[in-house]
């Protein structure tokens, strides 16, 4: 979105700047996603920039035209993807409201959602299914947004909050608060957020040594995550057996027992922190060029980064406090969004939508597909794991940004 408006009259001064992040570096996954787009347009898309920098060409009009054209096309594709994703979410959302132990036809469901009182359906749909579906969408969007911010900022698809320990921190804190301190409700959210932020800060400081190296941060995060996971395991081993279902939530994430009370904090967090992140999307895509370049282009790198981290961690922690760390959603949303939306523009909104769709579909599948009710985190974990490994293989083989 931010790349498109610059295009039509984009003279040499502005063109390369807004173009570069999308074309040459590409978002999280690389290679195929760029070439599978408009191949004739995007490959030469970077060459006039490079040529211009070398001063060989003075941007012949037909090339500028090609760049403009391909950029417009990618913008269109991105809008189309966003629309399709939103439509899919709406469709699955309604489906989860209709299908269950009892089937309710669409018109009844719609009437319940609009606030009418329908005998029977009002309780099942309005009290049970609606908050659950809402929580799925909201938490998924939070995980997707938080994940893609980290992945973009650290320029590594593997640097998602669930790998570098932030989800583990929020989860360990929440489990501790519930089981050891017998807290509930908003208190748990607060503790989880404190835990997530504390871990993020610790990882950041521990890996800061004469500048920030993404690789060091990831490795430090892995170490911290291992430590926190063992804390969670210890806390859970103290939990009485009949709390096993509840305990599983803090290991894998689950939407069981969702009510409006758990939905509200997540909704507020998304409504407040989401726009903060979106307002920084341009700075975020510039940070991807590296600190020095971003600073030269007018981004206050440290301040922006801290703002981004706080907002992203806040989203992750609020969602984790409500649902537990739903495995791999933060990790998967960004790369999937990048593949389907193409490399143009900001990935924030597509990733949020992909995250929401993932959680919604996985929860639906976990409830009804396997004959036995799996919590949503087990489904995303089991389905996400092969994709994760595929992603690592591809990242390693292409050399990627590692």
């Amino acid at each position: 979105m931010n790349a498109v408006p610059a295009a039509p009259q984009g003279p040499a001064s502005h063109g390369p700047v807004s173009h570069d992040p999308s074309a040459s570096h590409g978002p999280a996954p690389h290679g195929p996603s760029a070439s599978q787009g408009p191949a004739p347009g995007s490959a030469p898309g970077s060459s006039p920039v490079a040529a211009r920098e070398r001063g060989i060409l003075a941007a012949p009009p037909e090339l500028t035209g090609a760049v403009t054209h391909s950029r417009l096309r990618r913008g269109r594709r991105r809008r189309l993807v966003v629309l399709v994703l939103a439509a899919l979410i709406a469709g699955v959302f309604l489906l989860t409201l209709m299908v269950g132990q009892t089937f309710y036809p669409l018109d009844q469901v719609v009437r319940v959602v609009l606030g009418e009182d329908v005998p029977g359906a009002s309780f099942t749909v309005g009290r049970l299914r609606l908050p659950r579906a809402m929580l799925a969408v909201l938490a998924g969007a939070c995980f997707g947004l938080g994940g893609v911010v980290f992945q973009t900022m650290l320029r590594n698809p593997l640097a998602s909050p669930d790998i570098i320990g932030i989800s583990s921190g929020a989860s360990a804190a929440a489990a501790f608060a519930i089981i050891m301190l017998s807290m509930g409700g908003v208190q748990v959210s607060i503790v989880a957020i404190a835990g997530g932020l504390g871990v993020a800060l610790a990882v950041y400081l521990l890996s800061f040594r004469g500048g920030l190296a993404g690789t060091r941060l990831i490795l430090v995060g892995i170490g911290v995550a291992a430590m926190l996971d063992s804390v969670t395991a210890y806390v859970l081993s103290k939990a009485p057996q009949w709390e096993l279902q509840e305990a599983m939530r803090w290991l894998t994430g689950s939407l069981n027992g969702a009510g409006y009370g758990t939905v509200m904090p997540v909704l507020v967090a998304l409504a407040v922190l989401g726009p903060v992140l979106l307002s920084q999307s341009r700075a975020l895509s510039l940070l991807r060029l590296g600190d020095d370049t971003a600073a030269a282009l007018g981004v206050r790198t440290e301040r922006t980064r801290i703002l981004l981290i706080v907002a992203a961690v806040g989203l992750i922690a609020f969602a984790t406090a409500a649902t537990g760390p739903i495995a791999f959603v933060a990790f998967l949303s960004g790369p999937i969004a990048a593949r389907i939306a193409g490399p143009a523009g900001s990935l924030l909104i597509p990733s949020a939508l992909v995250g929401a769709l993932l959680v919604l579909v996985a929860d639906f599948a976990g409830q009804f597909l396997f004959g036995l009710r799996y919590p949503v985190g087990v489904v995303t974990g089991a389905l996400g794991a092969p994709y994760l490994l595929y992603l690592i293989i591809r990242t390693n083989r292409t050399g990627g940004s590692l």
Binding site: S207, L219, A226, S230, A233, L244, A327, A385
Partner: protein, 327 residues
């Protein structure tokens, strides 16, 4: 000098083993400890010590095996961050055992051990293959990432396998933390042949590992069959981790910390490093077990939690050093 360090480590290990018999939620005088060691279980004190004996033996054996396996893995991959826990090998063994219990109704220790070794081997090959793809071969970062990601994936699979079985969920969950508390001599006895075989393979691999440390080309030039040496050493390490994981659950970070400490004290010659790592590993795991009993008195912390709390900061320290040095 090396002999001195080795003796020191042996004395330390023996002391810690004794401490593990004496220290616990019940205070036991020395006379009762000695009596219990001679097989008597007349009063409560002696009975308590009798319960501590297999646990101490398991801690010593498991620690030695994990320390040795860690040293070999770091040698094989020439990677300072290699560790059975970080590379996901222990988690692979866990998944295999969980599948065996939940789907095939396995219950004998021998079956556990074979399954665990199989799972560990598959995971080790898998992680190493993923980590060494692409430019630069198996760099520390790529291996650690591949291992961490694989671990995360395996944990999800374990949840998916165990969850439908409420009857086994509790026992699998407590086993999965990693502890030596529930040990009995039967399990230890079944584990022992595998440990001995693995240890012999690893110790025989000491000289090839020294050549491998010079780089593959040079090692081949010195007449080493690089692939064979690497595969054999890795097999030994995998047997050790698999057998330990089957009995004690996945215990992380011992294999990471111990070889680094040992290398500081005794140098990089694997012929000395490997036995020394085994001794120090036994000392570390026993110490962690004792510490877990002291910290949370009168309850106890599982040893897997203690080693993670001790080992993870050490891991971070290694990562933070200016550059992650190739071994």
């Amino acid at each position: 000098m090396r002999v001195l360090w080795l003796l020191l480590a042996a004395v330390l290990t023996a002391l810690l083993g004794a401490a593990s018999l004496v220290i616990g939620s019940r205070e036991v005088p020395w006379t009762d400890v000695l009596a219990a060691l001679q097989g008597s279980a007349d009063n409560l004190n002696q009975a308590a010590v009798t319960k501590r004996i297999p646990r101490t033996v398991l801690a010593l054996l498991a620690g030695a095996a994990l320390g040795l396996a860690g040293a070999v893995m770091q040698g094989v991959t020439r990677n300072p961050l290699a560790d059975p826990g970080i590379l996901g090998v222990n988690m692979g063994a866990s998944l295999a055992v969980a599948v065996g219990i939940a789907w095939f109704g396995m219950f004998s220790y021998t079956a556990f051990i074979w399954t665990a070794i199989l799972g560990a081997a598959v995971t080790a090959v898998f992680v190493y293959a993923i980590g060494s793809l692409g430019r630069g071969g198996a760099t520390p970062l790529k291996l650690a990432l591949a291992g961490a990601a694989t671990s995360a994936a395996l944990v999800s699979f374990i949840s998916a396998v165990v969850l439908p079985r409420a009857d086994i969920a509790q026992s699998v969950r407590s086993w999965q933390i990693g502890g030596v508390g529930g040990a009995g001599f039967e399990g230890i006895g079944r584990m022992l042949p595998f440990l001995i075989a693995g240890a012999v393979i690893c110790l025989l691999a000491a000289r090839p590992l020294n050549s491998l440390a010079l780089g593959d080309e040079l090692a081949a030039g010195l007449g080493e069959r690089v692939a064979v040496a690497r595969a054999a050493a890795a097999l030994g390490a995998v047997m050790l981790c698999g057998a330990v994981t089957a009995i004690a659950g996945p215990i992380g970070f011992v294999g990471l910390v111990v070889p680094h400490l040992c290398r500081l004290l005794i140098g990089v010659d694997h012929r000395w490093l490997l036995p020394f790592s085994a001794l120090t590993g036994a000392a570390l795991l026993t110490a962690s077990d004792v510490a877990g009993r002291i910290i949370a008195r009168p309850e106890e912390l599982d040893v897997g939690i203690v080693t993670a709390l001790v080992g993870a900061p050490f891991f971070i320290y290694i990562v933070r050093r200016q550059k992650v040095r190739e071994l």
